[in-house]
Symmetry: C2
Subunit: 252 residues, 2 copies
Amino acid sequence: MEANVNESGFRGLDKSLRIQKITDTAAELFHRKGYRSTTLDDVSKELGITKAALYHYVSSKEKLLSRIYIQALENIFRNTDKIAGKDLPPDVRLRLIIQNHIKGIIIQSISMFSVFFTEENQLPDKEFRKIQQEKKKYTRIVETIIEEGISQGLFRKSDPKLQAFAIIGMCNWVYKWYKPGPGSYTPEQIADYFTSLLERGYLKGDVEEVPDVPELSEGGREKAGSRKEGYQRLRVKCEELSKLVDEMEKHG
Amino acid sequence: MEANVNESGFRGLDKSLRIQKITDTAAELFHRKGYRSTTLDDVSKELGITKAALYHYVSSKEKLLSRIYIQALENIFRNTDKIAGKDLPPDVRLRLIIQNHIKGIIIQSISMFSVFFTEENQLPDKEFRKIQQEKKKYTRIVETIIEEGISQGLFRKSDPKLQAFAIIGMCNWVYKWYKPGPGSYTPEQIADYFTSLLERGYLKGDVEEVPDVPELSEGGREKAGSRKEGYQRLRVKCEELSKLVDEMEKHG
DNA sequence: AGATAGTTTTAATGACTGTTTAGTTATTAA
DNA sequence: TTAATAACTAAACAGTCATTAAAACTATCT
């Protein structure tokens, strides 16, 4: 029946730490139950204080949400500029970005990023736009690295924006499935793995020449060129695959 | 000031269509404002009827959410079994799965999947578990295809589950950035692009032999083997990269 | 026309919750 | 000791919202 007095209390912390604790607790609850479904009573109960006491530290529930967003952004952007600006080959920079990204999500707590990814529409308009803008900025960083990789002849030709979305999506989704624990992967292992997959793909590579990414703007796509036997069929186009599925639809 | 009488009215539809319209409208609003923040007044207003009239078709708000989840699942699973069971090489099956996945999300409406991905914690416990289970089932399907690809020597060695998460994440994230419109990519184009990236990676491929994915279980990883000059450095390990970042931290 | 069933509305209820107010306690400063 | 301030509490305000009850409208059938 007692209030939750877990994890090193709340009273015996100095102010900035107490605010941090409030933010973390809120993030955890918002993550578990959703922002709107979490009451300030829930938060205060979890902290072992009264709701009104909360208002000593945070001026509104909305402000609490803002704080979470600000922290998440700070965390993700902490290293990006340094990485992106460093004089390193694009592939290495991309690796660093990916690693930083996954580390940010996992170490800085999944809850915070879960909220970050799912509660945007709860922010006031102005803040919402700000966040949207920052996200675009981040995408743009990744995009730029990819562009450089391509222009240096290191990366295959592609649509850099689409590729950035693909990579970022793969990384972001970590918050959905990652469960910390003794047997879990470390963020570094995941980053290593993702990088390896993204750089080289999952197909075993004994092909003479890898074709560029298909043109996205037109229908007429790649005429099968000089590739080794056995990999011809890998390049079946999606249009054909579509027909295949449609066919399946009809005949059970 | 009038009620929203857009998109072909509500009154002139037969029952099952009316229920469908309610579900779609709800999904759209839940997507825009969040489940908890959307009132039934919002939904009914959007439909041009009163709140109480809604209760003729849906017994509770929760039920409305359930319906959305059920439809999303139906949509994703519609073809999977047929694809996974078909006697096709693993790489082709994986392509089909990816394509089906992205098509499902985009065509069947982003809103529905946005809700599907973000409002799970609003479901009653029993339903929540059911959904969780279905998601696992889906991951398992992808995983199995990957396992077969590996054992047939077609795919590089890897952790199939991690790879499944990576792929699924890349695909799911589409709901976050895809904006339908005249200049947008088609689902097929996105699927094509993702598949190409996933199969072959973004690095330009003039390497003799692509190394297997690094072992995830131990620290000691790959001794640089017989690879072409110039790609040596690509295989810098994340541990080393970490140090690099840490260093940057200190010296601006 | 009248009855019936299906549909929609108006009006109310009851529970919940973000926020405010007014006051208490503990700690520090003068 | 007195005054001031920070930390906190209890209670209530003001509003919102899911849900229900009961009345009114509409179309169809007899």
